[in-house]
Symmetry: C2
Subunit: 276 residues, 2 copies
């Protein structure tokens, strides 16, 4: 059912890569899972990390430096892929549509509909699988992500009350219904309906999140116009959302930005996870 | 003289990539340099990181997780390339000879001799350049490396007494004159002479290092037969070398191994650097 692609000892635990036949995406999917040493003795809390455009399960797993802090806190990390994969899966020449750009939605438009169901994959299928196959405690889940993955983390967090103890994001696509990073993909995947459920700013205005939220954004990010952080920041403050929106001076959109603040994000989630 | 390829804000400092015309290698060379926040106020100590076979300046810079700890300790990191580069530079089809496999020697054999002078590059040219162009204190240098780069760190450290406060290595090629990772390259680059100066075990038997040495080796390393850690461990103990050789249970040869123990290596060097 789950095939081991690789397992490397890391920080006293194991960084694994696994593949499986996905029903939601109707293709084989690959994900990374870091289990800390404590997982030998029983299920541990888990932090989801959703990646950005062009990434696979591997980028953050090797470049975000999260395992050091997860090991310190005794929590697991999951690194899902960002889209369905394989020869039979529709794609686009642009880097921001198709493979590597699933946007964490269930597509209803052709040619995307049969495979591009990343919402169901990340919200339902993959949690059930890791809960059944690994020492992961589904009662204690938190979620973070970068860019498109920050969008995914925020929208999943707000759409599934009670699921996650805490939500954070690095430079999220914050207001996709008003941005070229968003309108293009929502049109392609969804047509002209159902956009509101996939816009963190709109969800924040409506309901917010029933726990703490942490957002970091670099002031030197080359994609600020596409990310629209000001919309989310305004919505968080207007909603009186518990948490923080932080503008980090001079940081850009790279993994150097992510790794710099990863320790604080993991500690933020660990506090909420262990309090549940 | 030095061209900026990229600069990313990271951990309060800057992770830069720079290129320059190298005299030693007779080609353009690229290196990574992390400068912590403290470098704004004046020169800081520096830790060299020499990479292994197939790597460029970039692998460790993005995957070893060293910047977090260097920033904490207020020290710089240098990530040199592992060989000369460019169209006019001789190469070999094998991954372990030619480009990406300079072995930190000065080649005297054709076709390698004109460009493959990585010893001079790392021992002389690059230190002079970073000392002149960046806020790096050449009176306080330490050196580490992985695999072929661990070999480079150990041999440079022992061959240049007084240069480095401390030497460490992750899974070094420990006894290349007796291993297929070594005999092949030493033959190609040097012919049948001058091998002793490039074998950490032989140097350790002769003179050792005038400061602390730290070596980490994974017991699950897939290349143990080629690395020959037992030869170096025996030589360290026989010489009464200050320091430690540590066998880390279950770890392999990957960057997951390196990043797991990077915090301890950086702290080890920082203690020696700040004491000088």
């Amino acid at each position: 059912m789950v095939e081991t692609v690789s397992e490397n000892r890391a920080f006293g635990g194991v960084q694994g890569v696994y593949s499986h036949a996905s029903e939601a995406c109707a293709c084989d999917m690959t994900f990374g899972l870091f289990l800390p040493e404590e997982a030998r003795d029983g299920p541990v809390p888990v932090l989801w990390y959703l990646s950005g455009l062009t990434c696979t399960h591997e980028n953050a797993m090797t470049k975000a430096g999260a395992q050091a802090w997860a090991a310190e806190q005794g929590i697991a990390l999951v690194f899902p892929d960002t889209s369905p994969r394989g020869e039979g899966v529709a794609d686009d020449e642009a880097y921001d549509l198709g493979k590597g750009a699933g946007f964490y939605v269930n597509a209803v438009q052709e040619p995307w509909a049969p495979h591009y169901n990343m919402w169901d994959y990340v919200a339902e299928e993959l949690p059930a699988l890791i809960g059944a196959e690994f020492a992961v405690d589904l009662e204690r889940q938190a979620i973070t992500g970068h860019s498109m993955g920050g969008h995914g983390a925020l929208t999943l967090g707000m759409a599934l009350p009670g699921r996650f103890t805490s939500v954070s994001a690095f430079a999220p696509i914050a207001h996709p219904t008003e941005s070229d990073w968003g309108r293009k993909q929502l049109t392609a995947y969804l047509g002209d309906e159902g956009w509101e459920a996939h816009d963190a700013t709109l969800l924040m205005r409506d309901d917010g999140f029933d726990g703490p939220v942490l957002v970091d954004q670099g002031s030197g990010d080359q994609f600020l116009d596409l990310l629209m952080p000001e919309a989310l920041s305004e919505a968080m403050a207007a909603r009186r959302q518990e948490g923080a929106f932080r503008m980090q001076k001079g940081y850009d959109h790279s993994y150097f930005f992510i790794s710099t603040f990863m320790e604080e994000h993991v500690a933020f989630h660990a506090e909420a996870l262990w309090a549940r």
